[in-house]
Amino acid sequence: MNQDSIIYFENVSKWFGDFQVLNNINLEVNKGEKIVVCGPSGSGKSTMIRCINRLEEHQEGKIIVDGTELTGNVKNIDTVRREVGMVFQQFNLFPHLSILDNCTLAPIWVRKMPKADATELAMRYLKRVQIEDQVHKYPNQLSGGQQQRAAIARALCMQPRLMLFDEPTSALDPEMIKEVLDVMIGLAQDGMTMLVVTHEMGFAKEVADRIVFMDEGQIVEAKAPTEFFENPESDRTKLFLSQIL
């Protein structure tokens, strides 16, 4: 495990009943790195990134996030979750709170930030994702693309050290995908450590430092985009690429 490592998976395995979703995963991500995870559905890519903030529990192996090992210890889990932002496929904004309140809730209650500071912080990030004129609306009054951008702002308000994206554009209409990807590209350019599960290969080519290809719970290959697209090693990867490109 090197010094810059922010995520460290060592021989991680997980089962849903008899079905093995993660099979001996080894992965190390450095600070500032952008990783795109792809693979066919059911390959375990979502499960893998959900293990990073313990929305899923791994059963074997070791996961260390930003120096904290994830175990049953609730304190450790809380520490990790404070530092890891997550964006979901279905946005998962809180429908009973305004966009602004969605963003200030965690800073106020988890970071114990004064309300005025939290509001200022939230406005900064909401401006950055360009929905500063919608902040007093409720999530259901916004379009899908706006909701997802608000969800990104909400995660950023905790000022996380890394961001997880679980298929952030899969639930969006095609014309809204770009506005969300643009926000993510901007974030990547600012140096955020990102793990993105996505099928957007254009985004992967532009942003990723490494592409991790998974199949049947295993990491089949993990390499830089040019290598990955031009020179895939395994037949499984070749087949996958031929289907999506």
Partner: protein, 350 residues
Amino acid sequence: MLSFNWIRQNLFSSWTNSIITVVLIYFLASIIPPMFDWLFFEATWIADDRTGCTSDGACWAIIGARFYQFMYGFYPTEEVWRVNLVYALLPFGILPLLWDKMPFRKQFLIFAIVYPFLVFFLLYGGPGLTAVASNKWGGLLLTLFLGLGGIIIAFPLSIFLALGRRSEMPAISAICVVFIEFIRGVPLITLLFFGSMMLPLFLPEGLDIDTVLRALVAVIIFQAAYGAEVVRGGLQAMPKGQYEAAQALGLSYWQMNLKIILPQALKITIPALVNTAIGLFKDTSLVIVIGLLDLLGIGRAALADTKWMALHVEVYVFISVIFFIFCFGFSRYSLYLEKKLNTDNDSENK
């Protein structure tokens, strides 16, 4: 709105509709005037006893003669100002909990916390006030005390029970399941009996809990168990994503439930919660089996008086009207809440 056009479109749009309209108008015309005659125009309002009611209308004199009992039961007349004070302060004790735009709500909220203790002090007596045994309470006083007290105190309990039942800790979940299923599985009457007849047998000598308090405890645990299942239904309807988003942000279990899950889950259970609350409010009449006379009990006692025999209709109409006012109030309030909490597209300002 009630223009000629409106009438033609809505009441006489086709032959069948016209016939139905005419029949209904005839029906209403033959029912309503006699009803009003009986209720108001030909009613006797003041009389000394049954024989004073000579008109064809209702004999409301019985309500007047028994009004004190309907409102206060057998509360001593010289102390009745205490009950009146409780009644007069009731809006200030409850409104701040229900109405978020109440003027001076913050100050009134403090009062709302004090109010239940004040009620106990005023009704039971204490330093400076003569004690009034609770078997003297009755009528509306008892109905409100048990009904509102039960509903309000049981509400937080039902939330804890519902959360407990879904808890991942097996001991807590087991306790909640047993409690809910046991209480829900028996009729309220048996709980009242158990509280009033059997509990004293188990309690040590000299530790005597007041009859009304025992009834209140029975009502509370009954309502808590029912409410818990309603709340659990709401919790189960919450999408998994809401829990995950809250956890991913680092919220603790209680923060997640208080800030994210419960506000949404309770909102969708408002109709069902109000339904059980209305049910309970009316079920408080069952305290008659342990010798307490609520509004209905007082009515039945009035009917047994030889001076006022056979005025069932008047007494039951009066009692129904009072129950209806409260239950209808609950129901309107729940509609107001649902509307206020609606955050979907179709709502204008929140």
